[in-house]
Amino acid sequence: MSIGAKSVSGTGFDVERARADFPILQQKVHGKPLVYLDNAATTQKPRAVIDAISRYYEGTNSNVHRGVHYLSELATAEYESVREAARRFLNAADHKEIIFVRGTTEAINLVAQSYGRAHVGAGDEILITEMEHHSNIVPWQILCRERGAALRVAPINDAGELDLEKFSTLLGPKTKLVAVTHVSNALGTINPIRKIVEMAHGAGAPVLVDGAQAAPHLKVDVQGLGCDFYALSGHKIYGPTGIGVLYGKTALLEKMPPYQGGGDMIMSVTFEKTVYNRLPYKFEAGTPDIAGVIGLGAALNYLTYLGIEQIGAHEHEVVRYATSAVSAIPGVRLIGTAKEKAGVVSFTLGDVHPHDIGTILDREGVAIRTGHHCSQPVMQHFGVEATARASFALYNTKEEVDALVRAIEKVRKVFA
């Protein structure tokens, strides 16, 4: 199965050159070249990101928004320049709409706790989908329990696509918010966000989009999508862990109460009364992850330099190749066969438990994720406990897909 395997893909994207940017990819695992296919969990970091973090700690380290001294001004300028880079990356209207958070999970919790507490009451409804990651389920369950609201779930079909008709019937005057993933982490399904937003807005409900799995693969344009909130994680777009972005429309953010109290989020404090800071600082209490933000900035630069459309086209070709090669293996059942997919090939192999697949693949140097992928309702839909998931990034090649296929053949041999 090594037809058409070559390093410069048909898209013209120079994958070998990009691979050289990632120091970790040069290593061997159990004596075999590392084939890293667990990118939906976290991506590897290019030299530019690693260096930016070191450079910050070696030359710029200082607290932001406080000092009048040289280093603090440097650090603040660099920190704020990343906010502008993130605005450009998402095509937000204003840099005030970019809030730095720990990651997608914190972004969703922020909206649930701040927007949710202010706008959701007894008898109201939050609408999510059956394909959500636990991080886009549990914060809403907590909110609904607190407020006496109800969580509604729009179903998916057996290809792993959202049932838009059922979705529309679940929308109504009680719907106070729609929370939906842009790309499913377990299935790879790309949701038609623009259409979903149109339908939700028609019912008067704002939309939060979980963009954790979309941002690495697709050009995200929050104004084009029309969504009200968009959440993403830095570590899934080649940046460091512990940093992410929440985009929110100014009009909504202005009306929301703070999420956490502390330094930096205030204008003035007396024991009688505190005046909150303006956007976006109202939502950034305490000393932020400055190094993380600067690392994220380097990742955004790197993605912009390579071109997200070029990356997406290259990945699409590798994923298509992987889908056909893996599904040709006897006993393989693909989980998630949506027409529009990005980044993920999720599968089961006969009676072999995904954990056993994962262990055997690991000995061949192939790193994949096995388990329920923090999406147990998706597993329940397909009647499986777990799947094996190969997930792809800009540096993956067709040769690596061939190594994956050989490793799966080894699993079949062990369990013959």
């Binding site: 159990h30 009676d351 954990h355 056993d356 388990g371 147990q376 062990v414 369990f415």
Partner: protein, 148 residues
Amino acid sequence: MSDLRDLYQEVILEHSKAPRNYRELPAANHKAEGFNPLCGDRFTVYVTMDGDAIKDISFQGSGCAISKASASMMTQIVKGKSTAEAEKLFDSFHKLVTGHASANGEAELGKLAVFSGVSEYPARVKCATLAWHTLHAALEGKQETTTE
């Protein structure tokens, strides 16, 4: 592939495909459910105690080859043993799969020595010990346990 065979020994593969004592035990007077939240492995262990002796034992559930084979072979070795003997076997088994086995412990484990390869795969220790944790919970009268 020799190192993989250390983990996936023939006996283990055979037990995972045809687990022994894989059924519900209607007469069970002790029962517990074991769950590994990381991977979703889930087993129910049924025990019929006669005084302090494990008169009968069975299990049901789903999991990987290691966890299923371990559950199967556990039911074989503890049948007829006292609670204290079963707990001592658990202790020896735990030492075996974490690479701290003693000569004495290995001798009493008999066939279960095939699980020694697990010690080279730290991520799989919980798979090998899930059934044992569940048995321990059942004997203590708890309804459920997790490996977390």
